[in-house]
């Protein structure tokens, strides 16, 4: 049972990673370092 859940999570994670690459979320993440306004 645990292996099935882990496999499902892994598949979902990989699909989300592909989706993230497709919508080019990495280029957005690049802008988030050193956020102004926080101490």
């Amino acid at each position: 049972m645990r292996k099935i859940i882990a496999s499902l999570c892994l598949t979902a994670g990989l699909l989300m990673l592909v989706l993230g690459l497709y919508v080019d979320q990495f280029s957005y993440l690049k802008m988030l370092t050193g956020i102004p306004g926080t101490p």
């Binding site: 882990a6 999570c9 994670g13 993230g20 690049k30 988030l32 370092t33 050193g34 956020i35 101490p39």
Partner: protein, 312 residues
């Protein structure tokens, strides 16, 4: 005769898991804060890598090479943007390795490990207190998720500007400006570098940066005092990233197993475990305790070689 001696030597050899892990942690500590070297050696061209990692690595710090996954999660929701990549990283790393990175890569975990090594004694907390305190980190995580998701939803529906103003400096993340890793790797270096000119010591109103800095320093003091009193205090009871990774740890591919034919039930593994896991009460075929960071201290301490990693 020589071959027998050689075989006995091989059998008695114990891999120094603890030392090896500390070496990996040490390298990870510098790797995650690699951009600090740009200040010392300006000719080095290293840039921030936009990949979230499930450890405490402050996104606010200008030294950070890789940001923490929960920091990304909060900041993206405050913009508002669905955190696809952070969630994907949690699912992929969590389902395969569980909380492995907590014990092997996290810089704050390394600091706590050093404190534990310097103290030299793994202090035990009473079971009842320990079980109750574990819930605190899940409460902290739910607070973060609640504020970040409600803010994201209200901003998405274009009705959240008042909510955002009310949250003030905590709008980008309820724990983000005061987290110990932010104070240690961002606030303190900025205060040391620029002092009063950093603008961090402003006490004009209650939401001014001065009070946030003070709150962050108090949390950092709790982190250090807690780590001295209880092994891995922050990881055990407060860390929201740890709570987040504890969810997939329950069913992750990587886990531990105990060979009952070799196990003498001496209790050395339970004694050394910094997370106070009752290993002998867990199923021997494979165990994935949500509190386990797979630090392998128990594997190193087991004189009969009954404990080992298991994948899947």
């Amino acid at each position: 005769m020589a071959s027998e001696q050689k075989a006995a030597k091989i059998q008695s050899f114990k891999f120094p898991y603890s030392l090896f892990r500390n070496l990996i942690q040490f390298l990870a500590f510098f790797a995650l804060n690699l951009l600090a070297f740009r200040f010392v050696y300006p000719f080095i061209e290293i840039n921030f890598i936009p990949v979230p990692v499930p450890v405490l690595s402050s996104l606010n710090s200008s030294y950070t090479l890789l940001g923490g996954v929960l920091d990304y999660f909060q900041v993206m929701l405050s913009h508002p943007l669905f955190p696809i990549i952070p969630l994907a990283i949690i699912l992929v790393i969590g389902s395969v390795f569980g909380r492995f990175l907590c014990g092997w890569v996290c810089p704050m975990g390394f600091i706590q490990d050093l404190i534990l090594k310097m103290k030299g004694v793994t202090t035990k907390v009473s079971l009842r207190k320990h079980v109750s305190l574990i819930r605190v980190k899940y409460f902290v995580l739910s607070l973060i998720v609640f504020f970040s998701s409600t803010l994201a939803l209200s901003l998405f529906l274009q009705a959240g500007s008042g909510y955002e103003d009310a949250l003030g400096p905590f709008a980008e993340g309820i724990l983000l400006p005061i987290a110990p890793e932010t104070t240690l790797f961002n606030t303190i270096p900025r205060l040391v570098q620029a002092g009063m000119e950093s603008g961090l010591l402003n006490f004009t109103s209650l939401t001014s940066s001065g009070y946030i800095v003070l709150l962050g320093l108090v949390l950092l003091a709790i982190f250090f005092v807690g780590a001295y009193m209880v092994p891995w205090f922050w990881c055990r009871y407060v860390c929201p990233t740890g709570a987040l990774m504890a969810i997939p740890m329950r069913f992750s591919f990587l886990g531990l197993k105990r060979d009952p034919s070799k196990c003498t039930k001496c209790g050395d593994c339970v004694e050394i475990c910094p997370m106070q896991i009752r290993i002998l009460d867990l199923p021997w075929e494979k165990f994935n305790d949500p509190e386990c960071t797979l630090c392998l201290e128990c594997v190193g301490a087991c004189s009969s070689g009954a404990l080992a990693t298991k994948m899947p």
